[in-house]
């Protein structure tokens, strides 16, 4: 029986959705949401209201979190506060991600009540490399370890989670490596990338991409928060889309750029603050990444409802994008050609 769940990162869209879904579960006594900033975005966010979630404003990088955990008798911690792009600076992002996780885990370690910790991670920990196998399982040793940005933070976070699991073997820890999030309200470097009118791609490369729909992320996190499923799990929609396929489905034009120039473009975009194209993103855009999700399916006896393609289509639909115009053009041409 889960009594009190603590959810971090509730001021961001996906964290708020997880908190509200947990709050809607009658089996859970209390839901406490924490974040560095108040969840202002929620009011204009529509559906994702926090429900009966109690919000506590805490700077995650400080030991304050320990007081909340001990004072409120938290028994389940759902750590959603992983930032994928620098809001202010890269070092602030690293502090938020890594120091925040360290403080949280330190607090959990001291608590006698906590018995379940669920951590959001990312498949970016596998990196993207021409030397790596085509499909990563949870046990695959990464060939080229990402050494910058978001992916590096996630690797360090996972390292601390493993250390915590070793020291507190009585606490069940689940680490969920999510593929790129996709859905109507997801705001990530990748969704912003696809919203551009023309999409720069790396010349001569067509990466394999995988997406997981935000609804499935919420469901997985909620199930992990109430069930005992320790371990590391890849989470992604079934199937694969090539970048070229995504571009076509979006009805956009690809702008192939030689890979060094793509890096420079990425840096320019980063300095203007439009899109974050870090070196890992460049690697992803060249070599792609696909993960195996059989472990999750076998453990939960459940599969994400959205395949990679369905998640992407849902995203396109919500943005009013699609290949309708190009398809209509071909239909018109075929009408001309076959009529005679």
């Amino acid at each position: 029986m889960t009594h009190t769940v603590l959810v971090t990162g509730v001021s961001r869209h996906i964290g708020a959705r997880v908190a509200s879904a947990l709050a809607a579960d009658p089996g859970i006594g209390r839901v406490i949401g924490v974040d560095t900033v108040p969840p202002s975005s929620l009011t204009r966010d529509g559906g994702a209201l926090l429900g009966r979630t109690e919000f506590v404003r805490i700077d995650l990088r400080t030991p304050d979190i320990a007081q909340v955990i001990s004072a409120e008798d938290v028994d389940t911690v759902v750590h959603m506060s992983l930032v994928s792009e620098p809001a202010k600076s890269r070092s602030a992002m690293m502090e938020h991600n890594v120091i925040g996780t360290m403080q949280l885990l330190a607090a959990c370690q001291r608590s006698a009540m906590v018995r379940r910790v669920v951590v959001r991670s990312t498949t970016a920990v596998y990196g993207s490399s021409p030397h790596a196998p085509a499909v990563f399982t949870e046990d695959t040793e990464p060939v080229d370890v990402p050494h910058s940005g978001y992916a590096k933070d996630a690797i360090e976070i996972e390292g601390y989670v493993r250390g915590f699991a070793r020291r507190r073997s009585d606490v069940l820890t689940s680490t969920l490596r999510f593929a790129n999030l996709m859905g109507p309200r997801v705001d990530s470097p990748l969704t912003r990338y696809f919203s551009q009118p023309a999409l720069p791609t790396v010349f001569g490369f067509d990466p394999r991409l995988q997406f997981v729909h935000e609804d499935d992320v919420v469901e997985v996190m909620c199930r992990m928060a109430v069930e005992d499923r320790p371990g590391v799990f890849n989470v992604s929609g079934d199937g694969v889309l090539l970048l070229s396929q995504c571009v076509r489905r979006a009805g956009r034009t690809a702008l192939p750029v030689p890979s060094p120039a793509f890096g420079v473009l990425g840096m320019l975009a980063r300095t203007t603050g439009l899109v974050d194209f870090s070196p890992e993103q460049l690697a992803l855009m060249s070599h792609g990444r696909v993960v195996d999700t059989t472990r999750l399916a076998a453990t939960l006896a459940w599969k994400p409802k959205f395949t990679t393609a369905a998640a992407f289509d849902d995203f396109l639909q919500s943005r009013g994008m699609g290949a309708d115009r190009t398809a209509a053009l071909v239909d018109w041409l075929s009408g001309l050609a076959t009529r005679r």
């Binding site: 021409p130 196998p133 085509a134 001569g204 076509r248 792609g288 398809a327 071909v330 018109w332 041409l333």
Partner: protein
């Protein structure tokens, strides 16, 4: 007439859900395939336009390795098939030795300076055995622009233990060239002499999956670019395994890249079973070395017999 393409799409969709068997099920579209009466020209045009529509809308499926069966069957293989049929006049023997549906590991000799033999084997297995072969390639291929993603789209993947195991578990037909660069880049004077077979990683994968090993001998590839020298220093600078000198390259420039039209024979030999072993035995180095030797012997014997059978490489000249 937009209804034609619209009504065709759902039926195509049904076929695309299982892309590989769909590719297998359809008879190979020959170059001189006169489909039905003249009235079907419209149908073929409509089919072509439906294909174009799917491609432009991104409405097709690729598997987790990046294999795009539609592009492979309808475009990429069509491009290399003339080489197979008319340039090298390939004859394929022993097709019955290739399992019709189950997983198997095809092990072949590698030669020819550029890996044209891999492509020809792919056409042979597609057209004669109706199977999509999943070749395992060097990581150099996946670092290069264009080549890397074309290679994935045509069904190849990186030669790694994980990928090989995964494909064999899925019941795919996997093709390997254990000689690697040692084979494909060997000098002309060593033609038809099998090089060392690496560490026998392919045997380990086959034993773990319990799938048979089909030895395959390719005769003819050795003569397409006779390598008589090597710019080894320049190759090292460029990060390439070798930079060949042939009687025509680099002297004739791009013309030197035209392969010589040797006569080719491809033979698939008697499968070597591995299902009598325990998957655990894959870790036994003695077993792996013995099996590796057995496969190597089989291919060398096949090669020698096939070479005799072929006679001169460039009939009717010499």
């Amino acid at each position: 007439m937009s209804e034609i393409s619209a009504s065709e799409t759902p039926s195509e969709e049904g076929a695309r859900i299982i892309p590989i068997s769909a590719a297998r099920g359809t008879p190979p579209p020959g170059p001189s395939d006169a489909t039905g009466p003249a009235g079907s020209v419209d149908e073929r045009l409509a089919e072509l336009l439906a294909l174009l529509r799917r491609r432009i809308a991104g409405d097709y499926e690729v598997d987790e390795f990046g294999f795009d069966p539609e592009l492979n069957d309808k475009v990429l293989l069509e491009l290399i098939r003339p080489l197979y049929r008319h340039w090298f006049r390939v004859e394929t023997l022993g097709v019955d030795n290739v399992p019709a549906e189950t997983g198997a590991l095809v092990v072949a000799n590698h030669s020819g300076t550029l890996p044209v033999d891999a492509l020809m084997m792919q056409v042979a297995l597609h057209d004669e055995a109706h199977r999509a072969v999943r070749l395992l390639g060097a990581d150099l291929v996946y670092q290069l622009p264009v080549l890397g993603h074309l290679s994935r789209k045509t069904g190849h993947t990186l030669a790694s233990r994980e990928d090989a195991d995964r494909l064999l578990r899925k019941g795919e037909l996997v093709g390997v060239f254990p000689e690697g660069f040692k084979g494909v880049g060997k000098p002309f004077s060593e033609r038809y002499k099998l090089q060392r077979f690496g560490r026998g990683g392919f045997v380990t994968s086959a034993v773990r999956a319990g799938t048979p090993i089909v030895p395959c001998a390719i005769v003819g590839a050795e003569e397409i670019y006779p390598k008589i020298g090597d710019f080894s220093t320049l190759a090292r600078l460029l990060g390439l395994p070798y930079l060949p000198i042939t009687p025509f390259f680099p002297w004739l420039g791009p013309l030197g890249l035209i392969p010589l039209p040797s006569k080719w024979l491809i033979e698939f030999g008697e499968p070597i079973r591995t299902d009598q072993f325990d998957p655990e035995d894959a870790d036994d180095p003695m077993l792996v070395f013995n099996l590796t030797d057995q496969v190597r012997e089989a291919i060398q014997q096949q090669l020698d017999a096939l070479r005799l059978r072929r006679g001169p490489a460039f009939p009717p000249f010499f």
